[in-house]
Amino acid sequence: MNLLLDFLFLYQVVILWYFALLNFFYTLFAFFGLGMVARYARELSELSLKDFLEREAYLPVSILVPTYNEEKTIAHSVRSFLALHYPEFEVIVVADGPKDRTLEVLKEAFRLVEVEWVYRRALPAKPVRAVYRSLVYPNLIVVDKENGGKADALNAGLNLARYPLFCAVDADSLLDAQALLRASRLFLEDDRVLAVGGTIRPLNGAVVREGIVETLRLPRGFLERMQVIEYARAFFMGRAGWSAMGALLIISGAFGLFRREEALRVGGYRTDTVGEDMELVVRLHRRAREEGREYRILYTPDPICYTEVPADWATLRRQRNRWHRGLWEVLWNHRVMLFNPRYGRLGLVAMPYFFFFEALAPVVEVLGYVLLPVFYLLGLFNPEFALLFLLLAVGYGVLLSQLAVGMETLLLQRYPRLWDRVVLLLFALLEGLGYRQVLALERFVATFQVWRKRGVWGEMRRKGLES
C-alpha cells in the first residue's frame, strides 16, 4: 500500500512539474509576446504606410480563396477582398466542387463569364472544370474544379496565381482594408522573409457593410465570446511569443502571406492532412534549415482578418477535433525534427513544446479528471487539496486570458465599450469552468482518431454575416 501511495504521490509531482513547465512556457510567451506587440505598435508608421501605398514600391499579391459550401458568406467575403487598399492584387476564388449554390452566387454577384485559360500547372491538383473572369472586376478569377479538399483547392489557386506573393484566406473571412499593405511590406523590407501570419479575430457580432467591418462588437453567444478570449490569447501570447523567439510554427489558414516561389519549391500544400496550414509552415522551416539558409517566418499583430467562429457546440467540437488531428499529423510527418539539434530551436524547443504541451495536453488533462474518482475510491482523494489545486489551475488560465484581454482592449483598442471589456474579463473567469474541459475532451478523442479520420474535415455550419 505504501508503494502505491508513493507512486501516486510521484504521479502528482510529475503532473505538477508538467503544470509548472507549461505555465513557465505561457509566461515566457506572455513576456515575449507583449514585448513584440509593443515594439511593433511603436514602430508602425502610418506615414510610411501612406508612402508605400502611393508609390510603386510594393510586391503584387494573389489572394487565394478556397471555397466549398459557402453560399451564405462568399459574396460578402469576395467583396471585402476586392475592396482592399492595395495597389496591385488579384483574387482567385477556387470553388472546390461545392454542393450548394456557391458558384451560382458568385456568377450572379460578379457577372462571371467562362474563359479559356492557359496556366502553368506547377502543382498537382484535381481537374479544373472551368475558369471564369468577372465583367465587373478585372482582377477577379473564379476556378471551378473537382472536389479535392482545401489544400488541393489552394494548390489549384497557386497554379493560376501570377504574383510573387500569395495570400491564403478562408472564404468565410473578411480582411481589414490595410491587411495586405501592412503584411506585404515585411517582404519588401527583408528578402529573408518567407511567410507572414496576421491576427485572426472573430467576426461574430461585428457590424459589416459591403464586406467591410465597420464596428467590432462582442457577439451575444456564450461560445462566441469565449472564442474572442481564446483567439486573443492564442495570437497575442502564443504566436507573438513564438515569432519573437524565431520559431513560429503556425500561420493560420484564415490569413497568411507567403512568397509564391518558396511555396512552389517545397511542393505547395499537402493534401493528405487537415493541418495543411501548419504543415506548409513547418515544411518551409524545415527546408530552409536543411539548406542552411537565413530566413524568417513572422507573425505580425496588426494585419487583421475577421473570421466567423462556430456558434454551436457541435461545429466547435468538430473544428477543434480537426485542428488537433491536424497537429498530430504535422508532428508525425515531421517527427524527424523532434529533439533534433539540426533544426535549432525549432527541433529543440518548438516541436517538443507542441508535442508535450499541445498534442499531449488533453490526454494529461482528461486522465487527471478520470483519475479523480479512482483516487476517491482508493481513499486517496483529498477534496480540500484537489479544490485548491483546481482553483490554482483555473486562476493561472484566467490570468493569461486577462493579460491577452488587456493587450487586445487597451493597447490595440479593440472592443472599445466599457461593458464589452467588463464582459471579457468576466468570461475569462468562466473559461476554466466547463468550456475548457469540453474542448479538452474533444481533443482527447481526436488524439485517438488521427489515423482513422486522416484527412477528414467535417462540415462547418455558417450563420452568415449580420449586415
Partner: protein, 379 residues
Amino acid sequence: MWRRGERLYALLVFLVVLLEGLALGSLVVVFSGRLFGLFGYPQVYGALWQALVLTGTALGLLAAYILLYHVYSASRELLDRKAYEDWLARFTEILFAGGSPPPPPWPREAFEALLDLREMLKGEFAERITEWLRQANPPWPRILKARLASRPLRLEALEALAQARLPETLEAVLPYLAHPDPVLRLAAARAGARVAQGQGLLDLAKALLEAALPRGALLEVLLLLEDRAEPVVEYLLSQGGGEEVWAALEAVGRLKLASLVERVLPFLDQADPELKAAAMRALYRLRYPPHGYEGLLLAALKDEREFLRAHAARLMALLGNDLAQRALWKALSDPSFYVRRAAAEGLLRMNKGFLAQAAERHPDPFGRAMAQQVLREAA
C-alpha cells in the same frame, strides 16, 4: 493604435509574471521536497495557499488596471481629440482667410494638426505651413541630438521631420543612417528622402551607402525622393554595392528616369543575374529599345535561369525588328510558361498578325496555346 500607459501595463505584466514565477517555483520545490520527505503536508498546503493568494492578487491587479485605465484613457483621449480638432480648425481658417498663427510655444496637438495639414496640402499653402513650422522652432531636431531621448521619442521625431519637410533639418537626420538600430536607420532614411534638397541629396546618397538597408527598403526610400531622385540614384549606380545598385536600377525604371538610361545599359553585361534582370526591367519600364545589345539579349534568352529569359523576351520586343521577331517566335517554345507568355505579349506589341500566325502554325502546341490566349485577351 498605441496608447499612452503602455509602460505601466508592461510593468504590471512584469510584476504579475514575477509573482507567478515565484509562486510556481516555490510550489514545485515544496512538492518535489515532499517526495523525498523533506517537507510535510502543512508546508505543501502552505505553498498551495500562497500560490493561490498571489494568483488572486495578480488577477485583481490586472482587472482593476484594465477597467481604471479604460475610464481614464477614454476621457483623456476625448480631450486630446477635441484639442486637436480645435487647432486644426484654427490653422485652416488662418491659412485660407489670411493672417498669422498664434505665437508659439504650441502644444503637441497643434503640431500634430499642422503636420497633418502639411501632409495634405501642396504648393503655396504647404510652403506657408513649412514657414510656420520653422518659426515655431519645433523640438524634433533637438530630440534627435539629445543623448537621453528614448527610442520611441526618436522615432516620433523622425516621423515628424519627415512630415514637416524642413530641408535644414537633414543634418539632424543623417547621423541616424549609421545608427546601430535598423528601425531607426530606416526611419531616418525615409525622413531624409522627404527632407533632402539640393546639396543635401548628395549627402543623403553618401549616407545611404553607409546605412546597409535591405534593398527593398532602399528602393522605397529612393521612390520617396520622386523628382529629386536623379543625383542620388546616379551616385548609387556608380558607387554602390550589389544591393544599392539593384535598388537604383529598379528606381530608374519606376521613376522613369530616362536621363540615366546610358548608365543602365552597361548592366546588361553584368555577371550578377539579379542586376542584369534589374537592368532589363528598368529599360523595359522606360520603353527603351537596347539597340547595340542584341547579342546580350539573345544570350539571355538562352540562359538557364527562367527569370532572365522572361525579362529578355519582354525587352526584346522593344527592338521591334526581324531579329526580335524571330527570337520571340523561337521563345514561344520555351519550356517556361512565363517566357512563352512574355514572348507572346512581345509579339502582340510588335506585330499582331505575326502572333496570329503563331497561334495557328507554331510547331509547339504550348506556344500555339499561349499565342491564342494572348490574342483572346487582347480582343
